[in-house]
Symmetry: none
Subunit: 417 residues, 2 copies
């Protein structure tokens, strides 16, 4: 069953406000098994609104329209709907009573403009709004059932759930379609490389659709499968998911939409391990992420942002000779930083970063984008060097911090095995 | 001149992602004097995409399309544009060279799927993407000039500013209206309080429109003035800006859209001062922000994320008796933390935070949202207590960190006077 979503209003048309309603409605309709074909937005222009409603009425079976139900002259939804349906508007007694009740509770008198909110197209069905003054309504235009809701997100959400979705369900055939999705969060490979590794998915799992999306610094891998409820959809999607899991291996760090730091925190807790971090180029970002997780004080003990070499030696005990011999960005240095952080805090693991986030500070041997990561644990300390230059300082910090946490994650997975 | 905006992609169609690109593009086009008539969104469906492009091509004079330019099989924009324009696609040598250059800097080999990104409709003009791999392009379909941009907001914004808007300006008649804006970034007062202080702006400066927008954690105060080029617009807006500056005083921290940490960094440099930070509740966020600024190594010496009390005493020298007597969240503790950070790093200033970001850990005397901030400098150490609970851990950390930097900023302003 095809659905369309129309957002109305000058604020959205001109970009003063980002339309979050349409995404919310799309998710809800797709979850019910409808296919949202189009979103549209037009401003407060009666002729254009009426024409757009007529177009949608010729194409879709269900439509949800937001905005334009209020008391002011730029609220045109009822007039536009009436014009598109070829009917007049009339005061709806139920809607009027509801507007009166709502205003009365707020001690606001019923003005002519407030009364206008109860002017609905003839033949429309009033939809109560329990959390605002503007009533909604439903109306058939062409072959499509339209639901008109307020633009205020809180009112729209409540009315969508209470009034629209139950009516949409009743319109669906008993054998209605279901739409299933699975999401894998991946890090450590490019979008293209992941796409190549999963290139055979369509032939191996007919009907399962693959979507890849760069959600910097992660790649999100999505599987979509739709069909009738009787077709064993869950098993088919589970089989595809299992294949994806096996093809991508440890590149996938979550199947529940979690952040990397949440996954790392859970692994630390499970191993009763604690962590201390020493950051140079990432400048506090690793610590910031880790401490975004509620309860992180249970495993995160200390982070040292040791930008100056004097802090690297003074706080972490990195040898001044090491710094003089190999410099701040080097495997040896980050190994000592990781050991130092671990020792200072008495933690199970120490994780350290040192690199060149840019835009300045690069050299021919150590260009911008170079990062060394050290990891110290009960079995000793290790160090790694990578290079990824995104061209932006913050993006480089983000990539460096993500890579550091990912190294710790993979180490913790090994520690469990 | 009529414009339309098309967002493409399954994530937006299904509501998994809220489309913020279209609002950004609408604002920019309206500011140039175009009228954005419609926003549309469709998914990754070649036939529907091509049909939608043809429809827009028959209605509008300028269109901006986002998404569908990446390397994977669900990236269909070039193919759909070619179909709508009635041409084939071909490898664009300039686009291919740009993709190669971008991948080379990241040490990624050019795979067939990466190469696909340089397949453009015949007759299209390549638009360079300086911050990502997917090139954009421009193409005439029907009577409309189309600009195809990546869906990644950062890449889209850069290309809109650099590639699209100059070309759109060239299409406009010379006698067009000018639309001027000024933006003030404010922190330390609510949106309502700022609105009250500026309530007389419309009468004092007729034609100047005021816009307040919460851009968490800042408030952005915008002045808009439009009119014909000959009307002395600049002087009128400058007079209004000067009045706003005087009304708001130190609440305004930037008139150039800078981040708080950029302003603080500039003040530190100007005073030849250095900084060390000790963070508990902000968990590294203050250090992360400070080190986002290129050249911050010139004044930022050390940040200690001392989550555990043992780190507060071990690394910063906070007295164990102090911690036992008043606890971690207290003016005395943050004063000692600030002094300790300053001493450990040998910095001019020490800045410290300790508080309760939540969701757990609150008590009746120190509820979630309580934060103490310590500031040590050449004249001694001071401490402050605030409470702002946004109900979300990350938002609380953000408010705490912003307040800490703002205190330092106001101290540095005094130090100059």
């Amino acid at each position: 069953m095809k659905a369309e979503i129309l957002a109305t209003g000058e604020e959205i048309r001109t970009g003063a406000v980002i339309d979050s309603n349409s995404a919310h409605i799309a998710r809800a309709l797709e979850q019910e098994g409808l296919t949202v074909v189009r979103h549209l937005c037009v401003g407060d222009d009666l002729a254009l609104l009426a024409a757009t409603l007529s177009e949608i009425g010729a194409r879709a079976e269900v439509a949800v329209v937001t905005g334009g139900l209020g008391p002011t002259t730029d609220d045109l939804s009822a007039a536009a709907a009436a014009r598109a349906a070829g009917v007049a508007t009339a005061l709806d007694p139920e809607a009027l009573a509801a507007v009166q009740r709502f205003l009365c509770a707020l001690n606001i008198p019923l003005s002519p403009s407030q009364q206008k909110q109860a002017l609905l197209p003839e033949g429309a069905g009033w939809l109560p709004n329990p959390v605002g003054s503007a009533p909604g309504f439903q109306l058939a235009i062409g072959r499509c059932r339209f639901f008109f809701l307020p633009g205020v997100p809180r009112e729209m959400r409540r009315m969508l759930a209470d009034q629209v979705l139950p009516r949409v369900r009743a319109l669906l055939p008993a054998t209605r379609e279901r739409h299933l999705t699975r999401t894998f969060s991946a890090f450590g490979d490019t979008e293209a490389a992941i796409g190549d590794r999963l290139a055979h998915l369509p032939e191996k799992f007919p009907g399962v659709r693959l979507g890849l999306r760069a959600h910097f610094p992660e790649i999100q891998v999505k599987l979509y499968l739709g069909g009738s409820a009787a077709a064993g959809l869950d098993q088919r999607l589970a089989a595809a998911a299992s294949w994806v899991r096996q093809r991508l291996g440890p590149v996938v760090f979550s199947e529940a939409g979690e952040a990397m730091e949440t996954v790392v925190g859970r692994l630390l807790l499970a191993r009763k391990a604690t962590l201390a971090v020493a950051e140079s180029c990432t400048g506090g970002l690793v610590s910031h992420w880790l401490t975004n997780v509620p309860g992180s004080s249970g495993y995160f003990l200390f982070g040292g942002v040791t930008y100056a070499n004097s802090a690297k030696s003074g706080v972490l005990g990195v040898g001044l000779q090491t710094l003089a011999r190999v410099g701040a960005v080097h495997e040896e240095t980050v190994r000592e930083m990781a050991r130092g952080a671990r020792r200072v805090a008495g933690a199970t693991y120490g994780l350290a970063t040192s690199g060149i986030a840019g835009p300045d500070g690069g050299t021919p041997e150590k260009p911008v984008g170079t990062v060394c990561i050290g990891l110290a644990g009960p079995q000793g300390a290790d160090a790694f060097r990578f290079r990824f230059d995104s061209g932006r300082r913050l993006a480089n910090k983000t990539l460096f911090a993500m890579r550091a946490l990912d190294l710790l994650r993979r180490e913790l997975l090994k520690a469990a095995a």
